[in-house]
């Protein structure tokens, strides 16, 4: 794994400079003390120009090295929330801090060193004529030397299983493969926080397995992984924390077991628990079961 110079709470402060077009530079102070580490949202409200209120008072804290799945139906505010975590959107009221940095005072470019964001639609993101160049664009822009860029590209491509596609043109690839390229191009920036907006959309069974492995490896590398997902099986099996949004508010926040044991609240978010939990609920089990073994054990069938 590449050393970012930032490892968990160990580093007290790291300064990173991002060159701007006007020649001035902008500095992100990264205070890694226990009080400020992680992402903190304080009563965040966001209203889109035109008056649609997408977030209505969200307060939560995501600690370093957490794996968080954000669930909820389309229009619940998931993507709007995620875009606040890297400063792409700034709250209309309330505040967002990433490792103590208030996003309101930072450009998105400055935040990009801390938080990587993979768009839902890879075609919003991809623009190079070769997969290698596409994945290398981020680390190059961060000013890394060529050998480090190459190492990061290979590492990221390997994590999502597209090592064999580095010479190809992104738009010759199928949508699901382009999505993996988009993910690798953000992972290659080696940011401590990685946000994936609907990574499993359009993925087949092997693709979803690869993404599950990616989440586990990023977690093992000390990163914080936040994924927006509609795939409850994926959320339940591969994330330690699940946050359910409905109508711009957090309605549930806890472990998969805690969240998926509340079918009534989930129905408000138009979400159905994973299949094992639904089977358990149909059979009148009190406890929430999320995998086959747990279900059979709870039914006394093991």
């Amino acid at each position: 794994m590449q050393a970012t110079g930032i490892k968990g709470t160990a580093a007290k402060t790291t300064a990173a400079a991002t060159a701007r077009a006007d020649g001035k530079s902008e500095t992100v102070e990264r205070a890694g003390s226990l009080d400020t580490a992680g992402i903190i949202l304080e009563d965040v409200c966001y209203e889109y120009p035109g008056g649609v209120a997408a977030l209505k008072g969200i307060s939560l804290r995501i600690s370093q090295n957490e794996t968080v799945a954000i669930i909820g139906e389309n229009g619940a505010g998931k993507t709007t929330l995620a875009k606040h975590l890297n400063g792409l959107l700034k709250p209309t009221s309330g505040r967002v801090f990433v490792d103590g940095v208030d996003t309101r005072g930072r450009t998105c470019a400055a935040m990009a060193r801390l938080v990587g964001f993979v768009f839902q639609n890879p075609d919003d993101q991809l623009f190079q004529n070769q997969v290698f160049k596409e994945i290398a664009f981020g680390p190059r822009n961060l000013g890394y030397p060529a050998d480090k860029v190459e190492r990061l590209v290979k590492w990221a491509a390997g994590l999502v299983g597209i090592e064999g596609l580095l010479e190809r043109h992104p738009f010759d690839l199928a949508l699901a493969q382009r999505k993996l390229v988009a993910i690798a191009s953000v992972v290659a920036m080696d940011t401590p926080y990685v946000i994936l907006d609907e990574p499993t959309t359009g993925q087949d069974y092997p693709g979803t397995q690869k993404l599950a492995t990616l989440v586990a490896k990023l977690h093992a590398a000390g990163k914080t992984v936040i994924a927006i997902t509609h795939d409850m099986e994926f959320a339940a099996a591969h994330f330690a924390r699940v946050i359910a949004l409905a109508g711009g508010r957090v309605i549930l926040d806890g472990t998969p077991n805690e969240v998926f044991s509340r079918p009534d609240e989930l129905a408000m978010a138009s979400v159905e628990p994973p299949q094992m939990a639904r089977l358990g609920q149909r059979l009148g089990l009190e406890e929430c079961v999320l995998d086959q073994e747990a279900l059979l054990r709870a039914l006394g069938l093991v």
Binding site: Q275, L299, L301
Partner: protein, 281 residues
């Protein structure tokens, strides 16, 4: 209207190898046939071949034949085929014409091209938009819609044309769970109304529940085809790039333990019933 694919081998222009290899398939009139398999298995290409985009639009090299309602797609024009087959693409961005300013006009586009009288066009567009739940946003620009709404828009533009054969190429891929349920409800209604349906889909829970026939593809070939219980019940399903619905895996586990010797149900409710019997709850 039935679909017959006979020994179809097809190579895209400039590609070293064929995307489809000796594919034969029969979908009888009124069937709901699901195509399953990993990405790159050839599902989308087969969908495009049934709609005639392969070879009419993509060109390339084609051997074998595709017959829709007995007529050879190669001998038919795209215009003739449009009356018989409607296709909903995987990516709604590929489908939206960009030539219209409103959702309403977008759905009317196909009918206008067929020269449908104005009053009938208006009525059919309204019916299609209501069916997919987009009537309220009919005056918006297609590009102002969310991904899920765009996918339903693409479906509406095919429904308005009311073809006897409808092909959906992973049409739920951009949708949230409730959007997916809604689309599958539309598909089930189309099946009830007697349409012939060819549906490529990764969400196996829906394939198991709704398909009358499942075709498993891998590397451009048909690996297996048959009723859903048979194809989704294969021991080597995962090895062919398809994940079994977890509720089916549970019942299979009971069979392996010798606790159940009946059928493996194709719905979650059916699996719950089996578990209830076996556990005595």
């Amino acid at each position: 209207m039935d679909i017959v694919v006979d020994s179809l081998t097809y190579t895209y222009p400039g590609q070293p190898g064929p995307a489809l290899r000796d594919v034969s398939l029969e979908v009888r009139s009124g069937e709901l046939c699901c195509l399953v398999g990993a990405n790159g298995a050839g599902k989308s290409t087969l969908c495009c071949a049934v709609a005639g985009f392969v070879p009419h639009f993509y060109r390339g090299e084609m051997y074998g034949a595709v017959l829709v309602g007995g007529q050879d797609t190669v001998q038919s024009t795209i215009g003739e085929l449009a009356r018989r087959v409607g296709i909903v693409f995987q990516n709604p961005f590929d489908q939206i014409t960009g030539a219209t300013l409103t959702v309403f006009a977008e759905v009317a586009f196909g009918l206008e091209n067929l020269g449908t009288p104005r009053e009938e066009t208006v009525a059919r567009v309204e019916g299609a938009l209501r069916r997919v739940g987009l009537w309220e946003v009919r005056d918006r620009s297609p590009f102002e819609l969310s991904g899920g709404q765009q996918q339903r828009l693409a479906i509406a533009s095919v429904l308005a044309m009311d073809p006897p054969v409808i092909v959906l190429d992973e049409a739920t891929s951009q949708l949230d769970p409730s959007g997916t349920r809604e689309v599958w409800q539309i598909v089930a209604n189309l099946y009830e109304s007697g349409k012939t349906l060819l549906v490529a889909e990764h969400k196996m829970e829906y394939v198991a529940r709704h398909a009358t026939k499942v075709v498993l593809m891998e590397g451009g070939r048909v690996v297996a085809s048959g009723p859903p219980s048979e194809v989704l019940g294969r021991d080597d399903l995962e090895a062919h790039g398809v994940g079994r619905p977890p509720f089916m895996s549970v019942v299979r586990a009971l069979r392996e333990k010798g606790l159940w010797d009946g059928e493996v149900p194709l719905t979650l409710e059916g699996a719950a019933e089996v578990l209830r019997k076996v556990s005595g709850r």
